[in-house]
């Protein structure tokens, strides 16, 4: 018997004034699954994540979270909203919008405080989350003075402190140096199987490393869905959806030319 999906979208359509971000999208994400959402800029990846996070709502179609409709009305209900926000953690692409407290400690404690947890539990969980991400020594620093990699780890800690069942990650490794990227990927590896992970990324390498399944979005529609290895091997699909590099490069023979290729 199939378990109730963590998320189910049926004919979800979302429009911005000047474009259609999601166009009749149908998809289902199983609990414990790790899904990479691939797509070129403007393909609807971030909007999909916002819809799954209950931050915007499709004008047509239906979104369900573990079988319950995810609507504005449902999230206006205190108990559902608290349960949903506890179970679904969102890491935004730009950590600056996510870090708005005076210190790293306050930042990580923000979510648990909203949940109304007892003080002792909050302190224990905040220290635990800081230690898990290796940022215990940053706890008294103002978040806006941290480096990009540190900010990203604080943003992750601020979400993981609630021990969510679902992690929604918008380009978690964007604009990070290779070392910081490695730390984030290592961390995500540790979550695989324990949490449902939906991550948007441009990086085929990272998608292949962490995701069981890849979804390819094109103009707000699902262009493909399948095991990540198969999607990443489908050169015509990747070429059509602008996921392959096409630029001039030099071969060992010294020849310089341009053709699609992947960095794996």
């Amino acid at each position: 018997m199939n378990p109730t999906p963590a998320f189910a979208l049926a004919d979800a359509t979302f429009r911005y004034p000047e474009s259609t971000a999601l166009d009749g999208l149908n998809l289902s994400i199983a609990p414990g699954e790790c899904v990479a959402v691939l797509g070129a800029n403007g393909s609807g990846k971030s909007t999909l994540l916002r819809v799954l996070a209950g931050l915007c709502f499709p004008e047509r179609g239906r979104v369900e979270f573990f079988g319950e409709p995810l609507t504005e009305a449902a999230l206006a209900h205190g108990a559902f909203a608290r349960n949903f926000r506890r179970r679904v953690g969102v890491v935004f692409q730009n950590p600056d919008v996510q870090l708005f407290n005076a210190t790293v400690f306050d930042e990580v404690a923000f979510g648990p405080l909203q949940m109304g947890w007892p003080k002792a539990q909050i302190l224990e969980r905040v220290h635990g989350a800081l230690a898990d991400l290796g940022i215990g020594e940053l706890k008294d620093r103002p978040p806006h003075r941290l480096s990009g990699g540190e900010k990203k780890r604080v943003a992750l800690a601020s979400v993981l402190v609630l021990d969510p069942d679902v992690l929604l990650l918008d380009e978690p490794t964007a604009a990070l140096d290779p070392k910081s990227q490695g730390q984030i990927v290592d961390f995500l590896f540790g979550c695989i199987g324990r949490k449902t992970i939906v991550t948007t990324t441009h990086s085929l390498e990272i998608a292949q490393e962490i995701a069981d399944r890849a979804l390819v979005l094109e103009n707000g529609r699902l262009a493909a869905s399948g095991p990540t290895a198969e999607i990443v091997a489908d050169t015509p699909l990747l070429e059509r959806t602008h996921l392959l590099h096409v630029h001039r490069h030099r071969h060992a023979s010294g020849a310089v030319h341009s053709h699609p290729h992947r960095h794996l």
Binding site: V88, L113, Q114
Partner: protein
């Protein structure tokens, strides 16, 4: 050697960096170990609001000046004199510009005449102008004392405890949280502009740039404020302010509250009664 003159962009960048430091320091001073920092935020909120009300209602210069003096003593004892002194200059400049005509236009006994123009500064005019300036300085000092000696989160929580509407508190909280993001954007914007600039800007170009950067920042701020709010919502924010510290009134807090009440009643009485 003469120090190099900073151009408009450099000066703006410098001011932006300074503003970020000041905003960050405001929260640091709130957590400091000065006199006012040890009191319950609710006591300070009620006490300072009372004193601000008394200062605003006062019709006697001596009473307003006495309230200002109390603020000065608090500032020294709470180790926040430097940022408050900086504030005085701004208040003096803006209020001075507004009330200066009153010193000339208000009828009364002429004390002296302004050089060149020959306009007479009257005793009544000078008294009115001084009253307004001292009142503005006193109220600004008291408000700054409250902000500089209280952690921002505690202040917001105190406002909610005193039944200030959640919407007002949320807007206030968002404004503060957004300052750093906005200042960062402004800094990037001006640095990018400097990277493409050759030579210095003349007055017209400076004005053009000031106007266009204000417009761009406004539009970016609208977009980003939405994103910051979404990030808060995603972590369970529903309009209430919570902090780890529980407010508990000690005997010291009650004594301070009593002192504030006595001061406010005395100042209000002496300032308004004929």
């Amino acid at each position: 050697m003469w120090p190099r003159r900073r151009d408009f962009i450099e000066k703006t960048l410098h001011r932006l960096a300074e503003s970020m430091e000041q905003a960050a320091r405001a929260d640091d001073s709130g957590a400091g170990s000065g006199f006012l920092q040890r009191f319950d935020p609710r006591v300070k909120l009620v006490g300072f609001l009372g004193l601000i009300f008394a200062a605003a209602a006062s019709q006697k210069l001596a009473v307003t000046a006495a309230i200002f003096a109390v603020g000065l003593i608090f500032a020294v004892a709470s180790r926040v004199l430097v940022p408050i002194a900086r504030l005085w200059c701004g208040v003096l400049f803006f209020t001075g510009a507004v009330v200066l005509p009153a010193a000339i236009l208000t009828p009364g006994h002429a004390l002296f005449r302004l050089p060149w123009a020959g306009w007479a500064v009257t005793d009544n005019g000078l008294h009115s102008a001084a009253s307004l300036i001292v009142r503005a300085e006193a109220t600004a000092t008291l408000a700054a004392l409250l902000v500089l000696t209280t952690r921002w989160g505690h202040l917001l929580k105190a406002l909610r405890v005193l039944r200030v509407p959640a919407l007002f508190v949320v807007i206030l909280g968002m404004t503060y949280r957004f300052i750093f993001v906005l200042l960062g954007i402004a800094q990037d914007f001006f640095e990018a502009r400097r990277a493409r600039q050759v030579g210095s800007l003349d007055g017209r170009q400076r004005r053009q740039m000031a106007v266009s950067s204000a417009a761009i920042l406004l539009s970016k701020s609208v977009q980003l404020s939405g994103e910051v709010y979404e990030a808060m919502q995603a972590r369970g924010f529903r309009g209430e302010v919570y902090t780890l510290d529980e407010f508990r009134l000690t005997r010291l807090d009650w004594c301070m509250l009593a002192a504030f009440v006595v001061l406010t009643i005395a100042a209000f009485g002496m300032g308004t009664l004929p």
